[in-house]
């Protein structure tokens, strides 16, 4: 049907029902409502069972860090330097066009030294690039057997955030906001913080934290670095808070009128967001002011913590957001796309994230917050064992690799101090316990108290889920 016609029909239909309800059934309807609504009425769908995690801090390493140079320890490769990647390993898998034309696929072992750190099993190997992260291995659940469908950044990140490679679906944080609602009416439920990396960067679209077809108030709110954390949040010169209040009230009245005329849900979202912004005028300055942090804590996050927008500052901000009850805090660290000059770029990238992310886990832990906060560290896919471009003893690059990669989680009902899954000797194929992105989503939702098959939203004639028609809960990693 013509959308305009449908819209008009919707209008008259609703108006009819409203008028009818007003005259005839007002009594019965109102009565039924009052007698049913005895308890607190909750307008959100979940949770389905007692949650293990109340909030999520998701550290997304944008560009896909190399699992071979960080967590997937393959000492055997050191004796296969510059050998051809065997067919029996590659099995004709499609490659990106960046390397599909290469003459050779020479094996590039990691040149970084690995150290085995204490965990709750027989230890976890972590490379010299992340010594601080290694030292909290007893808190981490490292999954080495992740795999994804996408082979390029945009679809890869979109898939990781929304469960679908095509844009347009709600992101994970939006689903969580929709499912659990806010725990702090002074701040957004879903906050995004971005750090510019030093390595090769890829585009970062705001739709990664979009709410898709879910109502607009569930979309992620990006906090900027620097003095203007939220643009235009402060009142302009000469406008008092009382004046602002009056303006908002007047605007809300007009918006309500418009809403009753057009029934556009976006208007409701707009009213709610204006109110949120008004409250954030008070809550955000308090949030971003680190002056109440003691020296010892600041030192733990590393020397960059006082530089707004650095990964260290964002990690500390993430802890402060978690403390204030924000449900979903997503940090993007850009610059992990090492097609060339991998050793040099990864050193700089790792230096920026290692100490802060370990500090975040320690800090949450000692404050008793790690119990119900789930920390997730992940890129969108892995990187190839063979070198892209020239391979030397000091330098190499790696192409995109969706068949296996490593991520870690901590807290929030996940088994601490374990390593799950395994890859073959080349870190190319998974040989044990594969975990797909849908499985990961299902598991995360499980920890948050949701049956991933029942958290749905009706849109365009059918129910949608984060996990589409896939996903299974990875039970062995649950505490």
């Amino acid at each position: 049907m013509d959308p305009l016609e449908e819209h008009l029909l919707g209008l008259t239909r609703r108006r009819f029902f409203r008028v009818a309800a007003g005259s005839i059934a007002a009594g019965l309807g109102a009565c039924a409502l009052t007698s049913l609504g005895a308890g607190p009425v909750l307008s959100r769908p979940g949770p389905h069972f007692a949650p293990r995690a109340k909030r999520v801090i998701y550290l997304h390493m944008e560009g896909a860090p190399s699992q071979i140079d960080l967590f997937d320890y393959k000492p055997g490769l050191r004796r296969r330097f510059n050998q051809e990647l065997p067919d029996s390993i590659r099995r004709g898998q499609r490659l990106t066009t960046m390397t599909s034309g290469q003459d050779r696929f020479p094996v590039a072992p990691s040149i970084f030294r690995f150290t085995k750190y204490r965990n709750n099993q027989d230890g976890a190997w972590v490379s010299e690039l992340m010594p601080h992260t290694g030292s909290v291995a007893h808190e981490l659940c490292i999954i080495r057997s992740m795999h994804t469908d996408a082979i390029n950044h945009e679809p890869g990140i979109t898939f990781f955030q929304t469960g679908n490679q095509q844009p347009g679906r709600p992101s994970f944080g939006s689903w969580m906001s929709y499912g659990l609602g806010s725990a702090n009416a002074n701040l957004p439920t879903f906050v995004v913080l971005i750090t510019q990396g030093t390595g090769n960067m890829q585009a970062l679209s705001a739709r990664f934290w979009g709410s898709g077809f879910l109502p607009g108030e569930h979309q992620g709110v990006r906090l900027r670095s620097g003095p203007n954390t939220v643009l235009y949040l402060n009142n302009p010169e000469g406008m008092s808070r009382e004046d602002r209040r009056r303006v908002l009230d007047a605007a809300a009245r007009i918006n309500e009128e418009e809403h009753s005329r057009t029934l556009d849900p976006a208007i409701r979202a707009r009213i709610a967001q204006s109110e949120m912004a008004y409250r954030m005028q008070m809550s955000v300055p308090e949030l971003t002011d680190f002056s109440d942090e003691d020296e010892q804590t600041l030192a733990m996050y590393g020397p960059e913590v006082r530089k707004p927008g650095s990964f260290a500052a964002n990690c500390l901000l993430a802890r402060r957001l978690a403390e204030r009850g924000v449900r979903f805090i997503q940090l993007y660290m850009r610059g992990w796309d090492q097609h060339g000059n991998l050793p040099g770029e990864m050193r700089a990238q790792s230096l920026a994230v290692d100490q802060p992310q370990a500090a975040l886990i320690r800090d949450l832990r000692r404050r008793g917050l790690l119990e119900d906060t789930l920390v997730l560290w992940a890129g969108e896919f892995g990187r190839t064992v063979y070198s892209q471009g020239t391979l030397t003893a000091e330098n190499y690059g790696r192409d995109h690799h969706p068949r296996c990669f490593t991520l870690f989680m901590a807290g929030g009902g996940v088994k601490p101090g374990i390593v799950y899954g395994a890859t073959d000797d080349y870190s190319y194929n998974i040989v044990e316990d594969p975990v797909s992105v849908h499985d990961l989503h299902a598991t995360l939702l499980h920890l948050l108290g949701f049956d991933h098959e029942r958290l749905t939203y009706f849109h365009q004639g059918r129910d949608y889920r984060l996990t589409d028609v896939f996903g299974r809960v990875v039970r062995p990693i649950l505490a």
Binding site: I24, A25, G27, L28, C31, A32, S35, L36, A38, G39, P40, L42, H48, F49, P75, R79, R80, F81, Q83, E84, D87, S88, I89, G92, R94, T97, S100, G101, D103, P109, I111, F112, R113, F114, T115, K116, Y117, R118, N119, G123, S135, V136, H138, E139, S182, A183, N184, A185, N186, L187, R324, G325, R362, R366, R367, G368, E371, D451, E453, V473
Partner: protein, 507 residues
């Protein structure tokens, strides 16, 4: 008022049934007439319509009289006007049955019936009380999923499909039957199969989760197995207290202490709605984690909250609080004394407050508390003794709480199993790799045919038909396929089957 008039008024509750029945009858006659497509309104209908109008007027009149000695209320007002409307429409229907067409009359009748429903409902509300009609409904919805509904709707179907054939009404192998709630609780020869609230300790789940080959795995491996989702469903049901139908539930059903309110008749006492609203009004986060059990978190407004505001807000919902976070608020030991009164409190977070050992000692007798977060408080070592006395305490956070290493040692001596977190690292290195040396001397992996295997099986590119350049080869279905350029493989991968034919005839 004349007492006789009052008596006449009281007849309202009897007389009112007459017009209601007649209106229904009128509608039936009308319906019949419509079906028969009669030309004019039948006489029977006319008589009926007039009688109905008279009865409606008598009812309205008596109702008016009855209403005189009732206190003013909005329900009464609504009932009065709606009742009057019914009577008026009844008269209109009667008039239209003599004059006017079929459809006007039918419309009036329809309108009368429509108004009749709310009018009678409000009348009923006055005699039977608010919520009389929907009570069973709301009681049911209050039970929520995860309880009664779950057992009947989700658990029974699973058990009946997979278990009843051996553990049911006809057979009970191992002394175990699962087909009634009592039998389910009783267990089999080797004891109970369900521990409410703890799926991990429940024999039922252990058997389901054993590897298929295991002798004790249930159902036996040759039988159809329940799906993972179904097992999860049972686990969730047990974790939520394994509640069954009210009538079938034995009162002595095993229940973990504090897991759920052991109300005798199974009804859940809901927290006071006004008190919850007052908390939310102050932007305190309140969540009903289980029916009647609340999680309360002051995180959003912590800095502005002191004892003077916190305590009155919590007073009315105290017995419903299962989890409370007062972290970073300005509370003192007084609030700890208030927390001690919360009988179902399992999780308490007072991190970053001015709470002292005196406050902790107020909580000493608390039997339900599982987790206590005391990081960054103003305690001293005397808190150890109070903490040791909390019977069910499982985990305590003492980072920068003022409790010294000696205090921690004392606490772990008094309570050996207690998890005490003082913010210290337990990590460390186990093994460090030596210098990285790169070489190429490792033999190719088992079964690998070496670089020669990369020679394409075809001499012409399957996509373009041009000569193959061995640099552009892919492996497909165990064969190395050569192409003329780096672009052709992409087309090939889009649908390899399409090119299968072209690969065959070469060689």
């Amino acid at each position: 008022m004349n007492p006789w008039l009052e008596v006449a008024g009281r007849f309202h509750v009897v007389v009112l049934h007459l017009p209601i029945g007649m209106m229904a009858g009128l509608a039936l006659v009308e319906f019949w007439a419509a079906l028969q497509r009669v030309e004019r309104a039948p006489a029977l209908l006319r008589v009926f319509a007039v009688l109905t109008a008279v009865a409606a007027l008598v009812t309205a009149g008596s109702g008016y009289l009855l209403g005189q000695d009732r206190p003013e209320s909005s329900t009464l007002t609504l009932h009065f006007w709606l009742g009057l409307a019914v009577a008026a429409l009844a008269v209109l229907t009667a008039i239209l049955s003599f004059a006017g067409g079929h459809w006007r009359r039918r419309l009036a009748l329809l309108a009368m019936l429509a108004v009749l429903v709310p009018a009678s409902h409000f009348g009923g509300t006055m005699t039977h009380g608010e919520n009389f009609l929907f009570e069973p409904l709301s009681a049911r919805s209050a039970e929520a999923e995860g309880e009664r509904g779950t057992y009947e709707a989700r658990i029974v179907p699973i058990l009946s499909t997979h278990c009843y054939s051996c553990h049911g009404a006809t057979r009970s192998r191992g002394g175990l039957s699962l087909h009634t709630a009592e039998d389910l609780w009783k267990g089999g020869k080797s004891g109970a199969v369900i521990v409410a609230g703890d799926p991990g300790a429940s024999e039922l789940i252990r058997r389901l989760r054993l590897p298929l080959e295991h002798d004790e795995h249930m159902p036996p491996k040759e039988r159809r197995q329940p799906t993972e989702e179904q097992i999860l469903e049972i686990e969730a049901w047990i974790a939520a207290g394994a509640r069954v139908d009210r009538s079938a539930s034995p009162t002595e059903a095993p229940r973990r202490v504090g897991e759920r309110e052991p109300a005798g008749d199974g009804a859940v006492v809901r927290p006071d709605g006004a008190a919850v609203a007052a908390l939310r009004e102050r932007l305190v986060h309140v969540e009903e984690v289980e029916p009647g059990l609340l999680a309360v978190d002051f995180a959003a407004v912590a800095r502005d909250m002191g004892d003077d505001e916190v305590l009155p807000l919590l007073a009315k919902v105290a017995e419903h609080i299962g989890s409370l976070s007062l972290a970073r608020t300005r509370i003192t030991d007084t609030a700890m004394a208030a927390a001690a009164e919360m009988g179902r409190l399992r999780h308490l977070d007072v991190r970053g407050t001015a709470v002292t050992s005196a406050g902790v000692s107020a909580l000493a007798g608390h039997g339900q508390l599982r987790t206590l977060i005391l990081a960054r408080t103003k305690l001293d070592d005397s808190a150890a003794e109070s903490l040791a006395r909390m019977a069910n305490l499982e985990r305590v956070y003492l980072w920068e709480s003022g409790v010294t290493a000696a205090g921690v040692a004392e606490l772990s001596r008094l309570r050996p199993g207690l998890l005490i977190d003082v913010g210290e690292d337990v990590g460390g290195e186990l093994e460090r790799e030596g210098e990285v040396r790169l070489s190429s001397d490792a033999p190719p992996p088992e079964g690998e045919r070496g670089a020669a295997a990369l020679t394409p099986v075809n001499s012409l590119c399957p996509v373009s038909g041009a000569a193959v350049d061995p640099r552009f080869a892919v492996v497909h279905a165990g064969k190395v396929v050569g192409f003329c350029c780096p672009n052709c493989p992409r087309e090939f991968w889009a649908d390899p089957a399409k090119f299968a034919e072209k690969l065959e005839p070469t060689r």
